[in-house]
């Protein structure tokens, strides 16, 4: 058994990793008041600026692993290319799969990253890696992208939820449940699995509106009497949580697509994925900073081409509708739409005409906020077996996402006295795709 030193994969505050003693001392000062509570060194100016700009993220999570070859990185004519052609797009020089004609007309707002090499080819590990940007280390469980965005872009007293996750299929749901990790359950997602409406957000019929409100007021009066002369951060959190209840309940209409004009509903289409994407747009419009919409199950070990013939056009339709809708409302500038999965699929076509798990050379896309549309970053070889240019991993992708949103990707959280940067210190964002 041998462990190699993993300089970039585990950070402990060592000067070797580029964080100096000063950062650590700063952290100590911040945590001295209460070492039990996670303390975050804020950079007030940056944070204030961000909140003003109201940036948001919609993550289209292609669970199971979509094929880059049938979407963003086609290899027509290659022995690994499969039956589908590549088609030109609105951006000269960029071609994508013929299964995505609608996105082909709208490449101007999207950047394709074709050079992901993330090394982890199992569903559980891959999903965690691509939701968190790194693997947990033995003593620390990292928050996922949604929890970090909720923490960074959400507002403490927000009347809307700050992390919403749709995952209706049971396949793969447990591989990457929304995870707030060390940020704590304050930043856990509101998870929707069976319906478009979150759990416990609607008033039960047995209690009237006025009774519900007055009961909450009575609770508040009693709690305030109790809090006199007492202090603890949990006591504050308790009352803050109840203070958000009425606002969140009022946000139930955000989840109700019947409030949307029929024309818009028709545009998104009657599919579950389409309806969830429409809710996602309603949510970000109301200021929800992070929404994940998972579409499963792309795991095409057999009949890869039939699977993709069914799923890719749906993705093409929903994604292009979503981008159009956001743009029309002036929201695309401040909303980052991501397509991502736990990994891609093998160029090699197996005996069942399937493609297997492949984390060595695959693609993701970023559209809208903070990214240079109409660009492709990175390159794979003629058969798609390896990255030949611009290789990046999950950390670089996450750094890029943070930077596109104006978040300092090197910002530290403090867990106890331990500084934990958003991405490992030697990680660079992909500057070429950032505005």
């Amino acid at each position: 058994m041998s462990d190699r030193r993993r300089g970039s994969a585990s950070f402990c505050g060592s000067p070797e990793h580029g964080i100096g003693r000063r950062a650590f001392l700063g952290g100590l000062a911040a945590v001295a008041a209460d070492m039990t509570v996670l303390d975050v060194l804020k950079q007030p100016a940056v944070a204030a600026e961000l909140k003003k700009q109201q940036k948001r993220v919609i993550l289209l999570w292609l669970a199971g692993g979509s094929s880059q070859l049938e979407t963003w990185d086609p290899k027509p004519g290659a022995p690994t290319g499969g039956p589908f052609r590549a088609i030109p797009t609105s951006v000269p020089g960029i071609q994508i799969s013929e299964l995505m004609p609608k996105m082909a007309k709208r490449m101007g707002d999207t950047t394709i990253i074709r050079s992901l090499n993330t090394k982890n080819g199992d569903h559980g590990g891959g999903a965690k890696l691509m939701m968190r940007g790194r693997m947990d280390d033995p003593s620390l469980r990292y928050p996922d992208l949604g929890a970090v965005i909720a923490r960074e872009l959400g507002q403490v007293h927000s009347a809307v939820p700050d992390y919403v996750s749709f995952y209706s299929s049971t396949e793969g749901r447990d591989f990457a449940p929304g995870a707030a990790g060390f940020l704590g359950s304050r930043y856990s997602p509101m998870e929707l699995t069976t319906s478009l409406m979150p759990e416990n957000i609607r008033r039960p019929d047995a209690i009237s509106e006025i009774d519900h409100a007055e009961r909450a007021e009575l609770r508040e009066v009693l709690s305030k009497r109790f809090a006199r002369g007492r202090s603890s951060s949990e006591l504050g959190a308790h009352n803050e949580a109840y203070a958000r209840v009425r606002g969140l309940m009022a946000s139930d209409k955000l989840f109700d697509i019947s409030k949307e004009p029929q024309k818009i509903r028709d545009e998104y289409g009657p599919t579950q994925f389409g309806e969830q994407a429409l809710v996602a747009r309603r949510l970000v419009e109301a200021g929800v900073p992070f929404v994940r919409v998972a579409r499963a199950w792309w795991d095409s070990h057999g009949q890869n081409f039939e699977t993709h013939q069914e799923l890719v056009p749906e993705l093409d339709h929903v994604m292009s509708t979503l981008l159009d809708d956001l743009k029309r409302r002036g929201l695309l500038e401040s909303t980052l739409v991501i397509t991502l999965a736990e990994f891609g699929r093998t160029p090699t076509i197996n005996a069942s005409l399937g493609r297997d798990h492949f984390a060595t050379a695959w693609s993701a896309t970023l559209s809208g906020c903070g990214v240079k549309g109409g660009t492709v970053y990175g390159k794979t070889d003629a058969k798609g077996q390896s990255v030949t240019d611009g290789q990046v991993g999950a950390p670089e992708l996450f750094a890029t996402i943070y930077r596109a949103l104006g978040i300092d990707h090197q910002k530290n959280y403090f867990v106890g006295s331990r500084p934990v940067p958003l991405t490992e210190p030697d990680t660079d964002p992909i500057d070429d795709v950032l505005v």
Binding site: M1, S2, T36, N200, D211, E214, R230, E234, A237, R244
Partner: protein, 538 residues
């Protein structure tokens, strides 16, 4: 490199030698030593601590801490009304010997041991060990290398099993849970901030655990296997079986087995798996060796200090060293002499958990009011000048909700007459469903908006707020006088009488529901249950 190593060793020695001569005598009672040491610091900093809490608060605090639920009205009344000067020690004795003690402490130890580990639980094993009063060192040995074929150690491998796929996590968690130190930073390089921890320590600890294997539903151990690692300079090094103190032990074996030996091992494994019996024991258990060295005289300070600190934190809201897994030379204790005394006392009394718990909760420091009445700002928490306000765990909260909403007439009027708590204990089981809805398994627990939404809108509260059977709401409805209704509700849920202001506020609230059956009572009880006073152990 060499300079910092020497420097690290020097620090190491300075803090690790507990100079017995400076400590209070060993024959003092635990509670006296806790109070002497804490009061000495308060005096030094010229802080006058908060007064002792009133009796109703003390009986609530003790009942929550020892048996994981609020007291019944009868229990509160008996304690408050008693004029017996020994009533506190008698209450503590009754609670320590009630079935709720093993149940609740098993939940607490389970949360401590299985922290962050998915949904697995060691509750059955822990409850049995706690019921029998098994010493902590023995529990540690059993958790590391217990024989699962014996009934008394069944389930003891749960800790290892839940980490079996990740040896680094196992290494880190063994160090942190049982020794109060987090060595994971020393995995890639000598710890940058804490000179105590070198890569040698990390891989030393890992060596002891590296022979652990999954064996059907059991945890097994092989006879071979060593750990190599790369230093920062890239040199490969063979790890020694080294404990955190730097003590190295010899563990035989290590040579990779021959093909024949491997086949023989596989044959035996397959056979045992087929029979569903535990795996054959190794000729030398490296994990048992770890327990041996960690509990040896001269090396056992980490183990003793960690359990003393963790139990102190459980009852006082924070440890004598914070964070609980950062017990090292550069993170000094708020009360070093107290910690050293408690560790020494724990060792000399055979790691008796009940004794230690009894001593901690009998102290005056434990029973201070949580309200800071003085006009000066409240002292830092590490002074222990004022009682902590601690959130109930989901299980404490859910069990307490069941107790609070049970008609007091359906419970024993004399708490002493039913030592088995045959009416109360089933409530803890009924509460498990609600508790699991409050907590998300595997998440760092914090009170969040999902709990507030659950309390506000979920139908999961229907059962506790029902009007039927032995429920409080059903009893309240039958009372005609609003003042009496308020009095009963507040006493049953909050364990105290309402004050004049509350009486008026709550009676006025009830008046709005005139002619609407149980509606008003149900809303009133809801408000009391969701109020911060109920949510916390104060």
């Amino acid at each position: 490199m060499r300079v910092s190593l020497i420097c690290g060793l020097a620090l190491f020695l300075l803090t690790e030698v507990v100079s017995g001569g400076d400590l209070l005598p060993a024959d003092r009672a635990i509670e006296d030593v806790v109070d002497r040491e804490i009061d000495a610091q308060l005096l030094k900093e010229k802080i006058k601590p908060a007064a002792q809490a009133d009796d109703a608060t003390i009986v609530r605090r003790l009942t929550l801490d020892l048996v994981g639920r609020i007291p019944t009205q009868a229990e509160t009344r008996e304690y408050v009304d008693s004029t017996d000067p020994a009533k506190r020690v008698k209450l503590v004795e009754r609670l320590l010997n009630s079935p709720g003690f093993a149940r609740h402490q098993a939940d607490s130890f389970d949360a401590m041991i299985m922290a962050g580990g998915g949904r697995e639980s060691m509750r059955d094993y822990l409850a049995q060990a706690l019921r029998e009063g098994r010493p902590w060192d023995r529990q540690f040995r059993e958790i590391m290398a217990g024989d699962e074929s014996k009934p008394e150690t069944k389930g003891s491998s749960g800790f290892l099993k839940s980490r079996i796929k990740d040896l680094d996590r196992m290494t880190s968690d063994v160090s942190s849970v049982f020794f109060g130190v987090n060595v994971s930073c020393a995995k890639c390089h000598d710890h940058p901030l804490v000179h105590d921890w070198k890569q040698d320590h990390y891989y030393g600890m890992k060596s002891f655990l590296s022979r652990t294997i999954e064996f059907g539903a059991f945890v097994g151990e092989t006879d071979y296997g060593t750990v190599k690692f790369k230093t920062v300079s890239g040199a490969e090094r063979q790890a020694k079986f080294m404990f955190l103190t730097g003590k190295v032990v010899e563990v035989s074996g290590g040579a990779e087995p021959t093909r024949e030996q491997r086949q023989e091992l596989k044959r035996r494994s397959d056979e045992a798996k087929k029979k569903k019996t535990p795996p054959p024991a190794p000729s030398v258990s490296a994990r048992a060796k770890l327990a041996d060295v960690a509990l040896q005289e001269g090396e056992r300070d980490y183990f003793a200090r960690s359990i003393a600190n963790r139990l102190f934190a459980r009852f006082f809201g924070r440890g004598l060293v914070m964070p609980l897994d950062q017990m090292h030379s550069e993170n000094p204790s708020s009360h070093p002499e107290l910690l050293a005394w408690l560790a020494r006392d724990t060792i000399s009394h055979n790691y008796d958990l009940k004794r230690l718990i009894r001593g901690l909760v009998m102290s005056h420091a434990y029973s201070r009011s949580s309200r800071w009445e003085s006009s000066t700002s409240a002292p830092l928490a590490r002074m222990f000048a004022v009682g902590a306000v601690r959130p109930l765990t989901p299980q404490q909260l859910a069990t307490s909700m069941w107790v609070a909403t049970t008609d007091p007439n359906s419970l024993p009027a004399d708490p002493g007459l039913d030592p088995k708590d045959s009416k109360l204990e089933p409530l803890a089981d009924r509460a498990r469903g609600l508790a699991s809805a409050i907590a998300r398994p595997g998440e760092e627990y914090a009170i969040g908006v999902s709990e507030a939404l659950l309390m506000s809108n979920s139908d999961r509260l229907q059962d506790v707020l029902a009007e039927s059977g032995d429920r409080l709401v059903g009893r309240l409805v039958k009372i005609k006088d609003r003042g009496e209704q308020v009095d009963l509700a507040v006493r049953n849920v909050l364990g105290r009488a309402p004050d004049a202001e509350e009486r008026k506020l709550l009676a006025d609230y009830l008046a709005k529901f005139e002619g609407r059956g149980a509606e008003g009572c149900r809303r009133l009880v809801w408000a009391l249950l969701s109020d911060s006073e109920f949510r916390f152990n104060y």
